[in-house]
């Protein structure tokens, strides 16, 4: 027989071992057999029924009397009637008020006790309105009540069926169903269920006895047991190892942040130095310095958010302003013919929310080391309808490589390195692309095992109009990676908005692929 003893609680084990094969099992019988509390009985019954080791055979309505706080007080100090009689027998007649104050009772309680005892001719009022002894004999009802209180002090509950006729009458007079605070007993009506062991239950019982499982095995090991050594020679209750584990609320990284951190670590390991910058930029750095003409449709590529106030920066750093302005107008010393329009020096100060990470690359140029490799993970902002593929703000990962040895082939080499190291791609494809600030421009596409070919990023060699205006004479590779898309794949998501979700539970439960 395959019996899982580990799934049995000590309350169940002890119960099974204690009952006979054809015994009627009730709360009352178990309380008297095993001294269980009522709650423990009910727990054991419900568990055993669920396992079909016991079955219900009938139900009967039963009345119990539960001792109240008042009842316990009577049990300890004695019922008021006895205390009043003893007081007068000892100290002589007293007024009702004196009795109440000497015994610490309420006047009305003294009054009602005296009224009853006076009717029974036990006490009487003398000519000076003092209570005095008449017969002095305790009425039977008081003796019976004292006995009941004494028993109830031990068991909490008295079963009506266990009481004699006289006791029943006395307890009924001293109990209430509701508002029982003033009475020594509270009436509790309960449906009592009678169970017997099932065939299965009997087998388990015999098994437990045969195996010597008593239900007295040690549950939790305590520091006290260890210090006293009381665990020695005892056995430990065996636990069910497949019980569903409890939920642990832990401190944890945001998986998207963790991914970005991984990318940053990857890039630093490839020799890139991180740069960063403010969220508020101006048209100069956001577009002009990148040789995007001020009033050209190329500027529409990025629909930007403007700052209301202050709408313009106070000034633009020199000599970069003059150099960029001249480059736009006539090419300055960059070798370009320029855009051939009049550069607007007010427009260039106009403030915007940074719309592309390339801003940081442009700003890094004049302070960059040569050779140098730089990157940034930049929060950018676009005037776009927010949906699954567009966010009002999002991260871009961008960077530059400066050096005499920089050329198209090293650009392809760099892209291959990103494809392999950052995206884990095996197959890589390069196609011509277009960005206003690079020439030539290259897109790199990689093959994902499930999603097929997709664009990993864009890149190119910065136009001399961009670099020379910043005082840089060596070629500069500029690159950007579509990190958000890879993050979504990584996290098994398909909606950009999920990356910045405020929902705590969804972030707590999010895991990486």
């Amino acid at each position: 027989m395959d019996i899982d003893v580990k799934s049995l609680h000590p309350l169940e084990i002890k119960l099974l071992r204690a009952v006979g094969d054809s015994d009627e099992i009730t709360t009352q019988s178990i309380i008297s057999l095993l001294s269980y509390k009522l709650g423990q009985c009910n727990q054991a019954f419900s568990w055993l029924s669920a396992k079909s080791y016991i079955k219900e055979v009938k139900r009967t309505a039963r009345v119990y009397y539960e001792i109240t706080e008042r009842g316990r007080e009577y049990g300890v100090k004695g019922v008021p009637e006895i205390r009043i009689i003893e007081l007068i027998q000892k100290d002589g007649p007293k007024t009702m008020v004196e009795i109440a104050s000497l015994l610490g009772l309420q006047n009305k309680d003294v009054g009602s006790a005296f009224g009853q005892l006076s009717k029974e001719k036990v006490l009487a009022m003398d000519s000076e309105k003092r209570v005095n002894i008449a017969s002095g004999e305790l009425p039977a009802r008081i003796t019976v009540l004292s006995g009941l209180l004494k028993r109830a002090m031990e068991t909490d509950l008295l079963d009506e069926d266990s009481l004699s006729l006289e006791e029943k009458e006395v307890i009924r007079n001293n109990s209430k169903k509701r508002g029982a605070a003033g009475a020594p007993f509270k009436v509790i009506e309960r449906e009592e269920v009678v169970y017997t062991l099932t065939e299965e239950g009997k087998k388990v019982k015999n098994f437990l006895i045969a195996e010597g499982v008593t239900g007295e095995e040690i549950g939790a090991l305590t520091p006290e047991m260890l210090s006293s050594g009381s665990w020695k020679g005892k056995s430990f209750r065996e636990y069910t190892i497949n019980t569903p584990a409890n939920r642990v609320l832990l401190g944890r990284r945001n998986p998207y942040g963790e991914y970005l951190q991984w990318v940053k670590d990857k890039l630093t390991s490839l020799g890139f130095e991180e740069f960063d910058g403010p969220l508020v930029e101006n048209e100069f750095w956001n577009g002009d310095a990148l040789f995007m003409p001020q009033f050209h449709s190329a500027r529409d590529i990025h629909d930007v958010y403007y700052i209301k106030n202050p709408s313009h920066a106070k000034e633009i750093e020199q000599p970069y302003l003059d150099q960029v302005a001249a480059t736009h107008e006539n090419g300055w010393k960059t070798g370009s013919r320029g855009w051939g329009y009049r550069f607007d020096r007010d427009f260039t100060r106009r403030q915007v929310m940074r719309s592309q990470g390339t801003v940081l690359s442009a700003k890094q140029l004049h302070k960059a080391k040569i050779p140098g490799k730089y990157f940034g993970v930049a929060r950018c902002f676009r005037y776009d309808q927010v949906d699954a593929t567009h966010g009002a703000d999002f991260y871009q990962t961008e960077g530059i490589v400066l050096g005499e040895d920089v050329n198209l082939r090293t650009l392809l080499g760099l892209l291959k390195m990103f494809a392999e190291e950052v995206a884990g791609a095996q197959e890589v494809k390069y196609v011509p692309g277009y960005f206003p600030f690079t020439e030539p421009s290259i897109e790199v596409h990689i093959k994902h095992p499930v999603l097929g070919w997709f664009e990993l990023g864009g890149s190119g060699i910065f136009r001399p109009e961009v670099t020379k205006a910043m005082g840089i004479d060596v070629p500069v590779l500029a690159w950007g990676l579509g990190i958000d898309r890879m993050a979504l794949m990584h996290l098994g998501l398909n909606d950009l908005r999920e990356l910045f979700t405020p929902d705590i539970e969804s972030v707590r439960l999010r895991r990486k692929n």
């Binding site: 944890r252 969220l279 190329a298 700052i307 929060r379 082939r409 405020p502």
Partner: protein, 558 residues
């Protein structure tokens, strides 16, 4: 970036061969284009053109021209005649300060097809919208040239006394009525609305051609399928882009079998190309690049001959002399600003598979910013303290950032052109983001311990931009037992493990319960604030769990 729709059949006919969708996707990047969608039923391809300096590619014929040349399937030579016959436009001095330039030509052919008509309308739209800055610098009109007589007059007309029947209407309207009532007038009228006179084109007898850049006349300006004699004019403010656009449209017509008939324009004032011009007009200057520069930039060892061959594949004829390559720019292009632009055409002409990747060899040291390094330390501590890291948007509403927070919000940066009020302010604090999280997470198992390290930005008059961006730590704890003592313990632990000393000062910040909040001072600077969230704020957010919040400026304690 413009997107066009082309009939697959037409595109392939113009190219001279057919493609599978995959093959088309592979070849399109050589025209800086990508396939955006295919409607197999109608045979319509949606194509996105990425190069904003190549408006010649924004039509079926233009795109086909580039691919056909690349595939070696055709050679293009657009030598337009200069014999203008009687086709003359006389420009009146009155238009000089309004919309000074006009260029034009006529075409003669075998009758325009429905698809041809659609393509020319699409070209017109893309050119004028994307390249012509929504008709401000370029507007184009097409007319039936059989219905009017030369010379054509371009002048400024009085908006209140000049009237004609515009396309889409059946009654005569004054120019002023057109800009206020006609749909096109409402869309484009603002370009000229403030001028004393409006641009106006008539024929020799005063018959109306159009009111550029707004609308054509209903009669002469309505082109129909089967028309074989057309007149095309472009007006605008920037002569080079106007002339380029005229050449592009002329090349498109030439490619679809039309004969191009030039027009002479006579100006009473100077233009960048003189007072008399015969258009289409070739204005491009030759461009040059050194062979050694090409090889340096491409990392190659190509011969001059290989370079000119590659350029020829791009439709660019080139000669080499003494190590310098000189190109003749095709009439439909004007995107050679710098020698690097020639380099890219050489790269594309060779094909990307001809360049092998080479690893950059320079040694450089990788490094994170000090702010990032510090943020990581703080994150480790917060995680050890049992906090979940969150990441939030940086834009939000006045309601969330200011009203619900029970603050005046004077330091908040406002967006001048918000798309919706949900993204109208830049966050100046992480606390609203955290409380927003709490407000949508009442069903997540408690307690809640969340944090974010991120940027905030706020007004700071002393800065050049009048704003400043800073790195902040913000955290929130919510639960039955949450209160000042627990948040105080977290703050204390953070500073202890960062090995930094701080002091506290009482504060009466309206976001917190009075007497249960504190400001953090570090080196005499206010570095943060924490305490029990004011129930007024909790109620504003609909939060029914006690919470405490904290925010620390990491740039100060770094």
């Amino acid at each position: 970036m413009p997107k066009i729709e082309v009939q697959r059949e037409d595109l392939y006919r113009y190219i001279g061969r057919e493609y599978t969708n995959d093959a088309l996707e592979d070849i399109l990047p050589y025209a800086k284009a990508e396939l955006d969608g295919v409607d197999e039923e109608s045979g319509i391809l949606k194509i996105e053109l990425n190069d904003t300096n190549r408006p010649d590619l924004w039509s079926t014929t233009g795109l086909a021209r580039q691919i056909s040349l690349y595939e070696g399937l055709s050679q293009k030579d657009y030598e337009f005649s200069t014999d203008y016959g009687d086709r003359v436009i006389k420009v009146d001095p009155s238009i000089k300060d309004v919309r000074p330039y006009i260029v034009a030509f006529a075409v003669k052919g075998k009758g325009i097809s429905d698809e041809g008509l659609k393509d020319i309308i699409q070209t017109q739209e893309k050119l004028c919208w994307n390249y012509g800055r929504k008709r401000r610098s370029i507007a184009m009109g097409v007319y039936r040239s059989d219905l009017f007589s030369f010379p054509v007059i371009y002048k400024g007309a009085d908006p209140d006394t000049t009237s004609f029947i515009p396309l889409g209407e059946e009654r005569k309207m004054t120019l002023r009525e057109i800009i206020s009532e006609h749909p096109k007038g409402q869309e484009y009228g603002h370009i000229v609305a403030d001028e004393k006179v409006f641009p106006f084109i008539t024929d020799a007898e005063g018959k109306v051609l159009s009111f550029p850049p707004v609308i054509n006349s209903a009669e002469i300006g309505a082109v129909l399928e089967g028309d074989s004699n057309l007149f095309i004019e472009l007006t605008g403010t920037d002569m080079p882009s106007l002339v380029l656009s005229a050449s592009i449209v002329a090349c498109d017509f030439a490619d679809s079998g039309f004969e191009i008939l030039p027009v002479k324009v006579e100006y009473p004032y100077d233009t960048p190309f003189g007072r008399e011009m015969v258009t289409p007009y070739y204005f491009q200057e030759p461009a040059r690049v050194e062979v050694s520069y090409v090889n340096k930039l491409l990392g190659t060892d190509l011969s001059a001959a290989e370079m000119t061959a590659a350029l020829s594949r791009m439709g660019v004829s080139a000669q080499e002399e003494a190590g310098i390559i000189t190109i003749e720019v095709p009439p439909y292009r004007n995107d050679f600003l710098h020698p690097v632009d020639i380099v890219e055409d050489i790269m594309m002409g060779k094909g990307m598979d001809r360049f092998s990747p080479l690893m950059p060899s320079s040694f450089t040291v990788g490094r994170l910013t000090p702010e990032e390094e510090f943020a990581r330390k703080v994150k480790d501590i917060m995680i050890g303290l049992g906090f979940q890291e969150m990441m939030y948007n940086y834009l939000g509403s006045k309601k969330d950032y200011i009203e619900r927070m029970n603050v005046a919000g004077n330091e908040y940066i406002q967006i001048a052109n918000p798309m919706t009020e949900n993204y109208e302010f830049v966050r100046a604090s992480i606390l609203p983001s955290l409380l927003n999280s709490e407000s949508v997470s009442a069903n997540a198992v408690y307690p809640h311990n969340i944090f974010e390290i991120g940027k905030v930005s706020f007004l700071e008059p002393s800065d050049n931009s009048g704003t400043v961006t800073r790195n902040y730590l913000g955290f929130l704890s919510a639960g039955r037992e949450e209160g000042y003592n627990s948040v105080n313990a977290v703050v204390s632990a953070v500073f202890f493990y960062l090995n930094k000393e701080y002091t506290l000062k009482e504060t009466a910040d309206s976001r917190f319960i009075k007497g249960r909040s504190a400001e953090i001072y570090y080196n005499g600077m206010r570095a943060g604030i924490f305490g029990e969230t004011n129930p007024v704020v909790l109620e504003n957010w609909g939060i029914q769990m006690p919470s405490s919040i904290c925010e620390i400026d990491l740039d100060i304690i770094l």
